[in-house]
Structure formats: structure tokens, C-alpha cells
């Protein structure tokens, strides 16, 4: 397995990579080889002396630890100072979009991914897939070879095959590709379609934007991508759209940023948007709604038409709907929504879940247009890289043609239709009819196994590439490291097929970009590489108008819409492993689902009422998360999935997520969860009402990180409506929350203090610390959407091991930063609230008090630090931590995580060299990213010639803060009166968690606000 990587060719600079003569000469002059070698001749005497000493010392060798050689740089590469990371701009392509990134490199290996502040799609933040991509690249289970008919082959053989096979340009070839926004890719694609006269191109994404584009085609006559500007909207209506999660919308980072921007409240004068969510599954996005209506996905179509009908009488363009009525006409929600939308024309957004029918999207687009939102809150953009076809239809046709034997060769690029294609297409069997099937994929996946050729793909961190962001900003993807398993990128692969030549990705990308910069290319190219973004290119907003045939189309489809009864099954991408492509990523597998808090499994989500009807045994503390397996049957397909009650799910509706139940992929993905793709057909991409559900009564254990979902009347996550906040701006104080005086208040008053626990009292009065800086954090719960990106960012930054399903189900997950989710209100229709919990860094830390060996102590700058080497593992600190943020290495998790398999050094390369790997038997916890803090303090000391260790405002960002797409986390120096953190902590929504314990947390929260419409309450 590992012989391919025995001498990996890691390079540290482009010169070294190129290894040209000039560089060699330069390096030789700088560091003459052999300069320090012993020049003396070896005489017989000296030989005997050395030998004698060696023999005498040989016996001691057994007393020593095994020798572990470290190798210094014999030739110091340019730009590298050992211990100082370098940052390169790059971008992560995902689903026809791309997120601009900055990648931290330590001694030539990428270790951490951050958002690129210059890039409009990330604006410095990331989503969870961006964060986890690092581990994905270092996954030792990725494919390492070209495989021909199940036998190991080589790239040279593949090249030879391509030369011969594709020399016949009249072959009937079908290209099936993932959605890829790369202009280079599009260029080679066009070249391919021009070269091969009998070729066709199908872009297949199991959860792509096809139906959105089709919807726009119906409404506007063009396939346009809607881009939402939530910050401009005061009314947001979502139909089943999970736009705050990357699994629901690849533009989630931008969406989250704008959504929270429109809801940021700093004083009682500020306003916030009202968000209405109508959905079946209780999605993360729905949990952030001000008003939420539970509605079966199969009924949302009717609901949308009824809303269009309600608006149709008042707005131009919706006349086709005006006479329409169905069971939702006159529904309280329809009337209220219509009223609100009409009052906010041009300042509202309607959006529908990606896999809803094109007709639903068409209607939503038409309503947006009619309300005047198009162009203001929603802009529509033409995509240069998409085919002018309905790709889902195209895939269906392809399967038919394959079955009829009309296709000779199938080329698959980065897509895995055997696993993900709708079950009725029977793609695996269809592929058998083609004479040659060629697949480029990262893993030897389901499709690769039925292919004649499998080519191992390079990860985006290993290869040159480019692409457009969701909103059309061009970026170049720079490789950070040589391909670990000598894979090739999709552009190199496609180019090999089209030209039969081997051209490097670098040249291919440059070739494309030369056309953008006809003059002064090198300069502009270097600027793009440096900034990671080309500010000149973006998709201009299209001027849209309802197409002439929309009315006829609408009249047709509304008349065809039928009401359905009974149970429905909803199929969605998984919030952590998406369509299954991240199934072998331990960080994502172990990231709790934001709503269910389940790791390592997919479950059938349903409401309490539905579960009762099915006789599902309820879960909770004391049952160890055991649940019943239910059998879901659609047509002839039957799948058994563990049932899970999600309060707030629509009744008579069951949601399953896909991507699990894979085999032969890798040691993380194999055997985890259930493959639910067989339930999905071309007709039922989102939901089906032809479903039979029965309880098998069998028991299945699920690894859930949160057993208890109620706050038990404790004021943990303080929240209020905007109106309540305006009435009582101090609603989040202890006094308001409990209607009682804070313990210690009277004593504090006697001593002349206003408030016994305020950090600011301490800092501004006699307890002012004699050391600067003093660190503090604030988490704005009003901004936080609960996505969990912070958890992964923390895991990546702090070398937190993956522990596996068994350990998680025993309550031993290691995440330093967890996101708690509570339900509030009615069990059928509750509100869900999210609260990230890092270490509170208490000034009076209960953990420090009880450690018998002083392994956890307070630093001068107010960080509650953990000395791993001193810890003996009594776990007393964890017992005494009221927030339970400490994590214990019950086993040697890091060793299991980092030395598993035949070549452990690969995963080890993902580790942050600034953070110790923790051994078995020690406690660990959030440190406010002390390695980043200390780096900044050292820099401040250098910059000030040793005058101060106080970094400037903004010099330190914690990993969670930096990754957070909602900008919900603030961190900084409390002794800096003008710093953002001090201003934030002065906000009247600021409160301390479990303040009555007098632990004086340095981490505080800003209470959450909602802006519900009282008419729907």
C-alpha cells in the first residue's frame, strides 16, 4: 500500500519544485555541501580510537530510548523560517461554486484552512467542509493508484490507453461530471465536445441546483442562478430551504453573513429582519426562524401556489394564480405572509429548497419578481459554465441510452453516480453496457469499482485549478503540496482524454488566464495568486422579466398540483458528510448534526406524534440513546433506519439523510449508517408520498452528544423578542431572568461595588490586574446560527483527535467547543436554540482549585491554562467544571487517531506543530488558542523592542472566531478600552453563563433576540 509514498516529494518553494540549475547553484553557494564534514584523514590510530569508543558505548545503547533522527534543512528554502507558518491564498471548489481560502503552511505542509478576507464568498470565514478539507487531503484511504479492471496500473498506461482509445473521435462518448465552475475546466470541456463529434456532457450533482435553474428557466426563460442578499431584506420567507448550512446551499457562508448582518442588534433602536420558515424537517435554518410553520414537504408546493394566489390579486405578473385556490387558501399564514410581503416590496426574499420541483422555484422566482425583489434582494446571474439543458433529464436520458447500448465510452469526473444516482436509473447496470468506463475519483468508490479505468484524483489542496465563486468571483486554486498519492486533477485528466497529452495543471490554468490578461500577464497573475481573488471578474446581475410562456406554464402546473394524504418520506443531504463525499472524513463524521446532535449515523427524523403512532420507544437520559429501527419501504425498496424524534418535525413526515452506509471506501466511512439512496428516484428527489413505514421493534444504538434537550427552567440561554428587548433592555441580567437578586449583590453593595461579578468592575477598580493584556471572549447568540463550523475549526487548530462512534456513544467526545441545542416550548412545535460552549476561562476557576497537582492554573493574561505534562488525570477538574467543557483522554485517542493504518505519517502531517498532542490520561480543553495568543504576544514584544507584550487590537483571532461565518464570536484584550470586545461586553444583552456561581467567566454571551410576527405566535 505505502510503497508509493516512501519518498514523497514535498517541496517548499516553486524554485525547489522546479529544481532548476540556478536554484541549485544558489543553494550550493549559500550552503556548500560538505562544509562541516571532518576533513582529517582517518589514520589507523584514530580509527581504532573511534571504534574502541563505539564498542565500549555499544552496551549503553540498550539503556536508551530508540534513536529518532531529526533532519534539519541542509539547504534552507527561501521564505521559510522554521516555526513560522506561511500563508498562501487558494480556494475550495464545491458544487459549482468556490470559497476563497488562505492556507497555513508549516514547513511545507498545509495545516489549517482559513477564509480569505478579500474573497466575497468567504469574507474571512469558512464553512465546515472548508475546515474539514484539510483532513480529507491527508486521508490515507484516498486512492493511490490508477486501476485498470481491478488491477493496479499506472498513469503512463492510462495515457497510452487514452492516446489509442480517443484517437477515434467518432466514438459515442458520454461525460458525466460534478458541477465545476472552473473556467479552465469549461475550456477543456468545450474542447472535448468540439473534438468528439458524438459526445455529450451531463453534469450530475445529487443535490445540485438543477431544479433552481429549471425554475428560473420556466419563470424567466433563462437558466439563472438566484443570489440572495439577506441584509437588504426585512422579510425573509423560506420554503424548506436550508440556506444557512453548506449542505443546503453552497453559498452558506455568504448567506449566513448577510442574514446575521440583517439581524444584528446593538441597541434598542436597531431593527432586525423577520424570518418565516415553512418546512417539514426541522433544519438548522428553520431553527433560526422567527416564525416557523411545520408543513410536509409534499404540501409546500400547494402552499407556495396558494401564496402566489393570495398575492396574485394584488401584484402584476401573478395573474395566472389569481383564480387558484387549494386547501391552504385562507390559511392564517398565507394571509399574514401576503400582508407582510406586500408591505415590504423590494425588501423581501422568498426562497425554496434546492430539490423542490422546478415549478415551485418558478413560482418563487415569479413572486420575487412581482414583489420587486429581483435585482434588489435577489439577483439572478447567468452561469458561464453550465449546459443549456435540464441535467437531471439528461442523466435519465443517458441511462436509457446506456441501456440501449448507444454509448460506447463513459467518462466520469469526480462524480459517483453508482452510489448517488436515483435508484430507478440503475446506473451500475447501465454502465455495464458501455465498452469503456473511465472514472476520476478521490476514492476507489462504488463507481470506480464498476469502471474499466479508475484514475486517482488529486485533492484541491494538491493541484492547480481555478473557478468562479457562487457570485462569480474568479480565483486560482494554488496547490499547497505535491500530490501525496500522485493523483491528477480534473483538468489534467480531462486534458489527457481530449489531447492524449500530459500537460501540467499549472500550464492549463495559465493558458486560460492568459486570455483574461492579454497584457502584463505575469504581474496580474501574481496578484491573483497572492490575493486569491480576481476582482475584475464576477457574474453581472441579469435583467430579468417574466417570460411570455410563464402564465400558460403556471396555469398548467397549478392545475396538475394534487393534494396528497398520509405519510411522506423526505430525503436530504447530510449536514456533515453531504452526499457521502465526506464520509471518510473523521472530523465531519464526528461533528454532531446541528439539530439532532447525532454523530456517525443517519437517522429517520420524525415528530413525537409520528413516533408515537409508530410505537417508537422514546429516548432520553437513562436509555443510552437506544432507539427502534424502522423499516421504510418505497416501491420494492426497503431500508431499515434508526428512528429519531425531532420535536418540531412535521407530522406524518419522515426525513432521512443520505451519504452513509458505504463500503470499501475507507476505515472511517465503512459500515457507518445506512445507505438511503435506494429510496430516492428520479421522481422523488426530495420527497415521496408512496411510502410505508413500520417499526421493526429492534434496538439500535445511536451516538448522540446531547441527551437532554430542555433547559429545565434554568436561564442558560437567555432570549427575548425584539419587542421585549425594547421594553426591558436589561432582560438578560440575572435579576430579570430569575426575578431575584444576584447572590452576593448585597455584599458587593456594602463594599461600594455596583455589581459583584462584572469583569469590568474588577478591571476598572481596585482589582485591576497588574498585567496586560487580559483576554476575553463574547459570543453573540443572536448572530450564531448553530452550524458547528467553530467546532471543526477548533478541532483542526488544536489537534483534537477523532474518537469514533463507540466512544462518542459513551459520552467521551473530545470537542473543545461544542454547540448546545435546546428546545423551548411546545413539544410538537418548539423553538430550537443554539449555544456554543467553549471554556469560560473563569477568573475564579473551580477546576484550578481542585487539581491536586496544580496542572491547571491561571496565566497572567487571564487564561485558564492546562499543563498537559503535569496532569495526572484525576478528572476532578472536569467534575468541578460547571460548564463541562473539559475533555479527558480516557484512552490514547491521539495515538489511535494518528498512528492507525500502514502509513500514519500522513495524518500526522495535518497536525498543528504549535499544539501538543495529548497523551492518554490527561485532561484537555479550550485554551483561547493560546498558541495564537502567544505568537501575537511575542510579535508585539519584538515590534516594541521588549516594551510591551500587548498585541494590537485584532492581532489575535481564535480559530473559532476566525471560522465563524456569522461573526458571532468576539475575542480580544479587555484592558484595551477601545477594543471591540470591551464595547461588545458593555452591551446590555451581555450576560455570564451561571453567573450566580461567581466563577467570573471571561467568556460571556449576548442574549438572543427573535422578531416574531405576533399574528402568527
Amino acid at each position: 500500500m505505502s510503497d508509493e509514498v516512501k519518498s514523497p516529494n514535498y517541496w517548499k518553494s516553486l524554485n525547489e519544485l522546479a529544481n532548476n540549475e540556478n536554484y541549485k547553484n544558489f543553494a550550493h553557494r549559500e550552503f556548500p555541501e560538505g562544509a562541516t564534514e571532518l576533513k582529517d584523514e582517518v589514520s589507523r590510530r584514530s580509527f581504532l580510537r573511534v571504534m574502541g569508543a563505539s564498542v565500549a558505548l555499544a552496551g549503553f545503547a540498550s539503556c536508551r530510548r530508540p534513536v529518532q533522527k531529526i533532519l534539519p534543512y541542509t539547504r534552507q528554502p527561501e521564505d521559510i523560517v522554521p516555526g513560522k507558518p506561511l500563508y498562501y491564498a487558494s480556494a475550495m471548489p464545491f458544487q459549482g461554486g468556490l470559497t476563497g481560502l488562505v492556507i497555513e503552511n508549516n514547513e511545507g505542509r498545509p495545516t489549517k484552512i482559513e477564509g480569505n478576507e478579500l474573497h466575497p464568498s468567504s469574507q474571512g470565514s469558512t464553512n465546515k467542509y472548508n475546515q474539514a478539507a484539510m483532513l480529507q487531503m491527508y486521508d490515507p484511504d484516498r486512492s493511490r493508484h490508477v486501476i485498470k479492471d481491478g488491477e493496479r496500473s499506472s498513469y503512463e498506461d492510462f495515457l497510452a490507453f487514452c492516446k489509442e482509445h480517443f484517437a477515434d473521435t467518432n466514438r459515442s462518448i458520454a461525460f458525466v461530471s460534478e458541477a465545476n465552475s472552473s473556467p479552465t475546466y469549461s475550456r477543456i470541456k468545450d474542447q472535448a465536445l468540439a473534438t468528439f463529434s458524438n459526445a455529450r456532457w451531463v453534469t450530475y450533482e445529487p443535490f445540485g441546483e438543477d431544479y433552481v435553474l429549471e425554475g428560473s428557466n420556466i419563470a424567466f426563460g433563462r437558466r439563472l442562478r438566484p443570489v440572495k442578499h439577506f441584509d437588504n431584506a426585512s422579510v425573509i420567507v423560506s420554503f424548506d430551504d436550508d440556506f444557512l448550512q453548506v449542505s443546503g446551499d453552497p453559498d452558506s457562508v455568504r448567506n449566513t453573513k448577510l442574514f446575521t448582518r440583517g439581524r444584528r442588534v446593538t441597541s434598542t433602536e436597531d431593527d432586525m429582519s423577520t424570518f418565516y420558515s415553512i418546512e417539514s424537517t426541522f433544519t438548522l435554518t428553520g431553527s433560526n426562524a422567527d416564525n416557523r410553520l411545520r408543513l410536509k414537504s409534499s404540501e409546500i408546493e400547494l402552499f407556495v401556489y396558494a401564496l402566489a394566489a393570495q398575492l396574485g390579486t394584488r401584484l402584476n405578473g401573478l395573474s395566472a394564480f389569481s383564480a387558484y385556490s387549494n386547501k391552504f387558501s385562507g390559511h392564517q399564514w398565507i394571509e399574514t405572509l401576503a400582508e407582510e410581503l406586500l408591505a415590504n416590496q423590494g425588501a423581501s426574499i422568498l426562497t425554496a429548497g434546492r430539490d423542490h420541483k422546478p415549478e415551485v422555484h418558478a413560482t418563487v422566482a415569479a413572486i420575487n419578481y412581482a414583489l420587486g425583489n429581483a435585482g434588489t434582494t435577489v439577483t439572478y446571474h447567468e452561469l458561464p459554465f453550465i449546459e443549456d439543458q435540464n441535467n437531471r433529464e439528461a442523466l435519465k436520458n443517458l441511462a436509457e441510452d446506456l441501456n440501449s447500448g448507444a454509448i460506447d465510452t463513459v467518462v466520469m469526473v469526480g462524480t459517483n453516480p453508482v452510489f448517488t444516482a436515483p435508484a430507478d436509473l440503475n446506473f451500475a447496470d447501465a454502465l455495464q453496457k458501455a465498452s469503456q468506463v473511465i472514472t476520476l475519483s478521490e476514492y476507489v468508490d462504488e463507481t470506480s469499482r464498476v469502471s474499466n479505468w479508475h484514475v486517482n484524483r488529486a485533492h484541491f489542496l494538491e493541484a492547480w485549478g481555478d473557478g468562479y465563486s457562487y457570485t462569480g468571483t474568479r480565483s486560482v486554486i494554488q496547490p499547497q503540496i505535491q500530490p501525496l498519492f500522485s493523483g491528477i486533477s480534473e483538468i489534467e485528466f480531462l486534458n489527457t482524454i481530449v489531447t492524449g497529452e500530459q500537460t501540467s495543471g499549472y500550464d492549463l490554468v495559465r493558458q486560460t488566464w492568459q486570455s483574461y490578461y492579454p497584457s502584463n500577464f505575469q504581474n496580474q497573475w501574481e496578484t491573483v495568486l497572492h490575493d486569491g481573488v480576481d476582482t475584475t471578474g464576477h457574474f453581472p446581475a441579469a435583467k430579468v422579466a417574466l417570460s411570455g410562456r410563464f402564465s400558460t406554464e403556471a396555469s398548467r402546473f397549478i392545475s396538475q398540483a394534487t393534494e396528497s394524504e398520509g405519510m411522506e418520506l423526505v430525503i436530504r443531504p447530510d449536514s456533515t458528510i453531504f452526499d457521502g463525499r465526506f464520509a471518510n472524513n473523521g472530523w465531519l463524521q464526528e461533528l454532531p448534526d446541528p439539530m439532532t446532535k447525532i454523530t456517525w449515523d443517519n437517522v429517520a427524523m420524525m415528530s413525537k406524534k409520528t413516533a408515537d403512532e409508530l410505537g417508537i420507544k422514546a429516548y432520553g437520559v437513562g436509555t443510552k440513546n437506544e432507539t427502534n429501527l424502522i423499516s421504510i419501504k418505497t416501491g420494492d425498496t426497503e431500508v431499515e433506519v434508526p428512528a429519531w424524534i425531532v420535536p418540531g418535525h412535521a407530522d406524518d413526515s419522515i426525513t432521512v439523510t443520505v451519504g452513509y452506509g458505504r463500503e470499501g471506501i475507507g476505515r472511517v466511512a465503512n459500515g457507518m449508517g445506512v445507505n438511503t439512496y435506494p429510496l430516492r428516484t428520479t421522481a422523488t428527489m426530495l420527497y415521496t408520498t408512496d411510502v410505508e413505514v413500520t417499526n421493526t421493534g429492534r434496538i439500535y444504538e445511536v451516538a448522540c452528544t446531547q441527551d437532554h434537550h430542555s433547559m429545565e427552567g434554568r436561564s442558560i440561554l437567555r432570549n427575548a423578542t425584539l419587542e421585549e428587548y425594547r421594553e426591558n433592555p436589561d432582560f438578560s441580567t440575572y435579576k430579570s431572568a430569575y426575578e431575584a437578586q444576584l447572590p452576593g449583590q448585597a455584599y458587593a453593595n456594602e463594599r461600594g461595588h455596583d455589581d459583584p461579578l462584572s469583569i469590568f468592575d474588577a478591571i476598572t477598580k481596585e482589582d485591576y490586574p497588574d498585567y496586560e493584556p487580559q483576554w476575553g471572549m463574547a459570543i453573540d447568540l443572536n448572530a450564531c446560527v448553530g452550524c458547528g463550523t467553530c467546532t471543526i475549526a477548533c478541532q483542526a487548530e488544536n489537534n483534537i483527535p477523532v474518537v469514533g462512534k463507540r466512544e462518542v456513544s459513551r459520552g467521551r467526545e473530545m470537542h473543545w467547543l461544542r454547540v448546545d441545542r435546546y428546545y423551548e416550548g411546545d413539544v410538537d412545535n418548539p423553538r430550537a436554540l443554539h449555544q456554543p460552549i467553549p471554556c469560560m476561562q473563569c477568573e475564579l476557576a473551580p477546576c484550578e482549585q481542585v487539581c491536586p497537582v496544580a496542572a491547571t492554573t491561571h496565566s497572567d493574561d487571564g487564561i485558564n491554562q492546562m499543563t498537559y505534562n503535569r496532569c495526572i488525570g484525576t478528572r476532578y477538574c472536569n467534575n468541578n467544571c460547571p460548564y463541562k467543557v473539559r475533555r479527558f483522554n480516557f484512552f490514547n485517542y491521539s495515538r489511535e487517531f494518528l498512528t492507525d493504518g500502514s502509513d500514519p505519517e500522513i495524518v500526522q502531517m495535518a497536525m498543528n506543530p504549535d499544539v501538543s498532542i495529548r497523551f492518554r490520561g490527561v485532561m484537555e480543553k479550550c485554551t483561547y488558542c493560546v498558541q495564537r495568543v502567544n505568537r501575537a504576544k511575542i510579535q508585539a514584544q519584538i515590534d516594541s523592542n521588549g516594551e510591551t507584550k500587548k498585541p494590537e487590537e485584532g492581532a489575535v483571532q481564535t480559530a473559532c472566531q476566525q471560522a465563524c461565518p456569522a461573526d458571532a464570536i468576539y475575542f480580544g484584550d479587555l484592558t484595551n478600552e477601545n477594543s471591540e470586545i470591551v464595547q461588545i461586553k458593555k452591551n446590555n444583552r451581555n450576560y455570564l453563563l451561571l453567573e450566580e456561581l461567581n466563577t467570573r467567566p471571561r467568556t460571556s454571551y449576548l442574549a438572543e433576540l427573535r422578531n416574531p410576527n405576533p399574528k402568527l405566535a
Binding site: 437513562g622 446531547q706 434554568r714 481542585v850 497537582v853 496544580a854 503535569r870 484525576t874 475533555r887 456561581l997
Partner: protein
């Protein structure tokens, strides 16, 4: 009206027609006669359990504390439950030997040796747990204030450190106390032993005891001083063990009632354990005359009294939870009663609160079979009390999001069962090779030992076999 009081002597502490010689023979014959077959059987079983313990601890050190059912809120589980339980059991011995000695309770002599041995072995079992429950056992010595190259002292504000000092001190003093009491008896065994090996070993252990006046003088002084030293320790050790909990912030732990409550509970369980062991041993070794029903009744009364104290403490916990208005304390109390571990709470309530109420009846107090059952139930109840405190409190603390359920694994059970192997191995060795009743001391409470056995009132020597004098009230 006047009452004529008569001198009412206590019932004889040693039953049967015993002389000093017969007492010596009765007790000393056991270590000096050949080993009974049943002993080998019992010792074999204990050894198997001991080996299981060693294997479990070995595996624990090899794999890590993850082999137990611990999780994130419940960082402590059975190990600490067992620690507190065994330490509690270890309370009876020193209480009986030291406090009752100072209070001149002659009946203690029937059981003090036995109870002290139990104490020492129980503390050994207890001491095992804090050592092995840590994550990195190879650096557990950092808990001790040993000068070292890191120039690091332990954290003196940690109750866990106080625990280390309290338990080691208690163990040392108990061991010394026990050994000092054993010295005259070692000499007796040395003098009576036939085999050379026994003569030499008992001889060395008896520290050259000759039975001279000076020996006795020194012995009595040493014994008195040690009793004085041990007395505060009886109260302090469990007080400090309770600090592990009381000093923390965890609801259900953070409570000022813990020190007296723990001490009462410890005495309660200690007496129960002494009774359990004694009821078996007296039968097998024919010690019914010394460890007789009167002694057992007295112990039952102590058990009943401490049982009421413990019950009162439970009541106060509930009362304080309500009265304090502290929602977390209220929450945890309510969760004890109705939460995921309520089964444990109700077992505890039955065993610790209901069971001792039966002891109000003299008939039951003097019924050996029922006493045995009650003593076992009390021990079970006291284990569950610690289980509720340690596990239930931790599992459901401040933030409901981190609540989790603790389930023991096979290895949790094995570590607990294994300590019985350690305990019984040592205890059986004690029964086999050492005098299980303090020969010298028990003689001291026999009538023959009273130099003033001439009764002034009756103008005759007190007959050791005489019936107790009936109390008669006379009205003039």
C-alpha cells in the same frame, strides 16, 4: 415515696464458664492448630478474586481508565464510590478500639481486634482506588509533597490532596494501634507455640515482651496515647473524604452537612460490616461466648443510632434543597428522586432508612439471622448512597446539555469484586495466623480480673456465675 436503689452489675461480658486459661486456649488454639480445610477453600476463592483484581488493574494501567464506564459529566464512577465505601467501612475499627476505649466501654474487647483488622484491610482496599483511578498512574507520586526537579509542590488547596494525607495518616495510626494491641498476644502465642517457625515469628513480632510490670506500664501508656491520637482521626478522615465533594461546586456535593453526615454514615456501614463478618466468624471459630448476643445487640444499637443520623441527613438535604431556593440543588434532589438514577435512590432509602427501623425491636436486635440480613442491607444501602452522590450528582449537573448516563462496564464490576478478593485474602490470613480477639484485653473485662471482687454489700465474694440481680422497686 422513696426508692431503694440497688447496685445492678452489667451482664457478664464473657458468657460461659470461662477462666483466663480457657480464654487463652479458646483464642490461641486457632493460629496454633492445623489449618482447617474450609479455610483453604475460602482462601482459594479469595485468591481467585485477588488475581482477578490484579489482572483488572493491570489491564486498566495498560489500556487507560476508558475501560470503565466513565464519561464526560461523570468523571468519577465506581472507583470513587468504592473508595468512599471502603473507607467508610474502615471506620468501625478505630472507633471501637479508640473512642470506646477512652469511654471505658468494656464490651469493645470482644470485637476490637477483629474490627481493627477489618479497618486496616478496608483502608487498603480503599487506598487502591485513588491510586488506580488516575489517568497516568506512573506519576501518581506527584500528589505527595516530595522535593523534585520541577520545583513543584502539589496544590495544597485541593481536597484530593487533603484526602491523600488523611487516608495515609489514618492508615498509619490504625496500623500502629492494631500492632501495639497485638504485642502481648504475640507473646502469648510465642509461649504456646510448638513449632519452631511459629515461635520465631511470633517471638520477633512480640518485640521481646516478657509480661513484666514495666512492659505492661509502657503498653498501657502507648495504647492510651494512640487511642488519643486515633480518636480525632476517626472523625477527620471521613470529614476530609467528604470535602472531596463538599468543597466542589457540583450540586448534590456542595453541602455543609457532608462532614457529619459522612462520619455517621461511615460508622453505620462500619458496624454493619463488622456484624456481617462477626456473625460468620463467631460461628465457625466457636467464639459465641465472647462475641455473644449482648455485644451484638450493643452494636445493633449503635447501628440504629447512626442509621437515624443518616436518615436525618437525607431529610436535611431535601429540606435545604427546598429552603435554600438554589435551583440546581433543588434540581439534583428532584432528579435523585425521579431522575434516571431514581432506582438507586429508592434502594438507598429502603436499605438505609427503612431497614434500621426494625432495630427498634429488641427481639430483632437479638436475632442473629435478622441482624445478619440487616447488616448486609445496610452495606448495600451505603454503597448506593455513595453511588447516588458521586454518579447521579455528576451526571445531571448545571447544564442539561451535558447530562449523560453512566453505565458500568464489566471492568467496573471486576475492580469492585476484585477488592473483596484483596480484603478476604488478608482477612483470612488474619483469622488464620493472628488472635482474632484481644486475649489480654478480654481477660481484663472478666470478673476474675477485678481485684475488688469482694462485695461490701453482700459481704461475700462475687460469684462469677451468679445471675444478674433483679431490680426491685420497694415502696415504703
Amino acid at each position: 415515696m422513696s426508692t431503694d436503689y440497688k447496685y445492678v452489675p452489667d451482664p457478664a461480658l464473657v458468657k460461659g464458664d470461662h477462666t483466663f486459661g480457657s480464654i487463652t486456649d479458646l483464642i490461641a488454639r486457632i493460629p496454633l492448630s492445623p489449618t482447617p480445610k474450609m479455610w483453604y477453600l475460602a482462601f482459594g476463592i479469595s485468591n481467585i478474586l485477588l488475581i482477578a483484581l490484579l489482572g483488572t488493574v493491570g489491564y486498566l494501567i495498560w489500556e487507560g481508565t476508558g475501560i470503565w464506564g466513565l464519561n464526560s459529566p461523570a468523571g468519577w464512577g465506581w472507583a470513587i464510590v468504592n473508595f468512599v465505601w471502603w473507607v467508610g467501612i474502615g471506620h468501625a475499627g478505630t472507633l471501637i478500639s479508640a473512642i470506646l476505649f477512652l469511654f471505658r466501654q468494656g464490651w469493645r474487647t470482644a470485637i476490637n481486634r477483629f474490627a481493627e483488622a477489618m479497618t486496616i484491610f478496608a483502608v487498603m482496599c480503599a487506598g487502591l482506588f485513588p491510586a488506580i483511578h488516575v489517568g497516568r498512574i506512573w506519576v501518581v507520586y506527584w500528589m505527595f509533597p516530595i522535593p523534585n526537579q520541577m520545583a513543584m509542590w502539589p496544590n495544597f488547596s485541593s481536597p484530593l490532596l487533603w484526602d491523600v494525607f488523611a487516608v495515609t495518616t489514618y492508615f498509619t495510626v490504625s496500623l500502629l494501634f492494631w500492632y501495639v494491641g497485638l504485642v502481648p498476644d504475640f507473646a502469648t502465642l510465642r509461649d504456646k507455640a510448638k513449632s519452631r517457625a511459629a515461635k520465631i515469628s511470633y517471638g520477633i513480632a512480640s518485640l521481646g515482651w516478657t509480661g513484666s510490670f514495666r512492659n505492661w506500664w509502657n503498653y498501657e501508656k502507648a495504647y492510651m496515647i494512640l487511642a488519643g491520637l486515633a480518636t480525632p482521626l476517626v472523625l477527620s478522615v471521613h470529614t476530609i473524604v467528604s470535602f472531596d465533594f463538599a468543597v466542589s461546586v457540583v450540586p448534590g456535593w456542595h453541602s455543609t452537612i457532608f462532614p457529619p453526615y459522612f462520619v455517621a454514615g461511615a460508622i453505620y456501614s462500619g458496624f454493619a460490616m463488622v456484624l456481617t463478618l462477626m456473625i460468620i466468624a463467631r460461628k465457625i471459630y466457636g467464639m459465641e461466648d465472647i462475641m455473644n448476643i449482648d455485644i451484638m445487640e450493643k452494636m445493633n444499637i449503635v447501628m440504629m443510632a447512626t442509621g437515624q443520623l443518616v436518615a436525618f441527613a437525607y431529610f436535611i438535604e431535601g429540606f435545604v434543597a427546598w429552603y435554600s431556593g438554589y435551583i440546581y440543588e433543588q434540581g439534583i434532589f428532584w432528579l435523585y428522586v425521579t431522575g434516571p438514577y431514581s432506582w438507586g435512590f429508592w434502594i438507598l432509602m429502603f436499605c438505609n432508612v427503612v431497614t434500621p427501623q426494625f432495630l427498634w425491636s429488641k427481639k430483632i436486635r437479638r436475632n442473629i439471622a435478622l441482624t445478619f440480613v440487616i447488616s448486609i442491607l445496610v452495606n448495600i444501602g451505603m454503597w448506593f448512597e455513595r453511588f447516588m452522590i458521586v454518579v447521579a450528582s455528576l451526571s445531571t449537573d448545571f447544564l442539561p446539555s451535558s447530562w449523560d448516563y453512566f453505565s458500568p462496564t464489566f471492568w467496573d464490576v471486576m475492580t469492585y469484586v476484585g477488592t473483596f478478593g484483596l480484603f478476604f485474602t488478608l482477612f483470612l490470613l488474619f483469622l488464620r495466623f493472628l488472635p482474632m480477639i484481644a486475649i489480654a484485653e478480654v481477660k481484663g473485662v472478666m470478673p476474675q480480673a477485678n481485684p475488688h471482687n469482694y462485695d461490701d454489700e453482700t459481704k461475700e465474694f462475687v460469684d462469677t456465675k451468679s445471675e444478674p440481680v433483679k431490680v426491685q422497686q420497694q415502696t415504703v
